[in-house]
Symmetry: none
Subunit: 250 residues, 2 copies
Amino acid sequence: MLTNERHLFIMQLLEEKQTVKIQELVESTGASESTIRRDLVDLEHAGKLERVFGGATLTGKNLLEPSISDKSTQLLDEKIKIAKFAASFVQQGDSVYLDAGTTTFQMIPFLKDKDLVVVTNGLTLVEALNNQGITTYLTGGLMKPRTGAFVGSQTIQALQNYRFDICFLGINGFHPEYGYTTPDPEEAAVKQMASSLSRKTYALADHSKINKISFAKIMDLERATLIVDEISKDANAVLEKKTIVKVVKP
Amino acid sequence: MLTNERHLFIMQLLEEKQTVKIQELVESTGASESTIRRDLVDLEHAGKLERVFGGATLTGKNLLEPSISDKSTQLLDEKIKIAKFAASFVQQGDSVYLDAGTTTFQMIPFLKDKDLVVVTNGLTLVEALNNQGITTYLTGGLMKPRTGAFVGSQTIQALQNYRFDICFLGINGFHPEYGYTTPDPEEAAVKQMASSLSRKTYALADHSKINKISFAKIMDLERATLIVDEISKDANAVLEKKTIVKVVKP
DNA sequence: TGCTTATGAATGATTATGATTGATTTTGGA
DNA sequence: TCCAAAATCAATCATAATCATTCATAAGCA
């Protein structure tokens, strides 16, 4: 079976069933597990599906599925630590941009009583911010079902009405050469614009993102201060030259 | 069963029943209690549900639909009737503006499979629209905490990027002399703008709004078609001269 | 032939799961 | 009200499934 044939077959099965298991595909195609796995990685890179543990699912089709849930509780604790540390850089009365994302979401409890104005492109963040009594603007635009993030030209245009003192971005990878990256180019564009409207930009990531490269580049490392929970000496040596790295105290 | 499948399953069951018990989920999914428990923790972290002793319940259902708890079931039934009737005016492929509000919210289930593009200024509507698989744009802007409606200059500006085939507005009063009114001037301005960008405007109200006058004027009666559940002969005689009135069939 | 690409197998690491335990909460009767 | 039984919970552990990575082989092509 040709590679493209198999890709087509996988996508057809996916359209039918919404989700497929790797074992199903191994049996129905006769290819090895490794091959199927490579196929799924390719198709994911092409944005045609999303890999999940044990198989794959159609992008955007799992409307109710929170993108957050696939992360472990372990990582959640680290996210909270990072979020708390990040929030400590916010000054009384600041105008703040909070990127849509799970780590930035965790910052919200630490932001109240600071008399802020917050702008975000994250649907889930709006409710939480309001619950804390924080004045909140949502960018609006086209909503991405999976993540609840607003993207697109309307979002970018809406952003340009604001100026920020401080800006927090979630990222999926950072690398000395390739800079900050994230899977979705649309989201990357929004992050880019938000940062360019801010006096100061912080990029939030846990240690699993070190030297990872995701699909869409946001910007070079030196354009933001990286906040990370821990970092190896080797990685730090390289990164220190490029950017200011803040590491969460243990 | 894939993890995400199970998450989806749980959320769907929850949407149906409002609450689920863990034991129910164990039996219906075949997964162990531990696994279900972990799923619920994940989904709670994602803000999709709220865990309660013995199971889980939908988050912010009260925020999502305040009128359900406040107003009588009687009025809700009427809202649904009005909403269903209103939705019947939507054509295949239309671009639709849905005002933030409880009655317009009830239209959503009747809008799927119509291949629409919907724009709304209602936070609560976005999620529901997405759950129906409808392409949705949110205007953005400043959020009003109590109602979840976006208002203000950003909202108005965002609206001007669109043109609508059809537009549905919730109103708090209609009166031959004072026209359509609503309590909040900011919301009135948004409704006004949305209507002016639409080929056709419908105003939705139940019979309790007849001859009521609220604080802020939206527009004169003749600018929109009124959809109402029932209407007295006296009132109708006056209104008929001013506007087109559609009454829900009993 | 020499080079690239696709494939399959093997590996150690990571993740999801189910069972168990003791703690916590609810329930129902005195 | 209080107390005890039952139900539910959080935390932990062991296991099985799945994953990313590497290496070697086979297939295609100039």
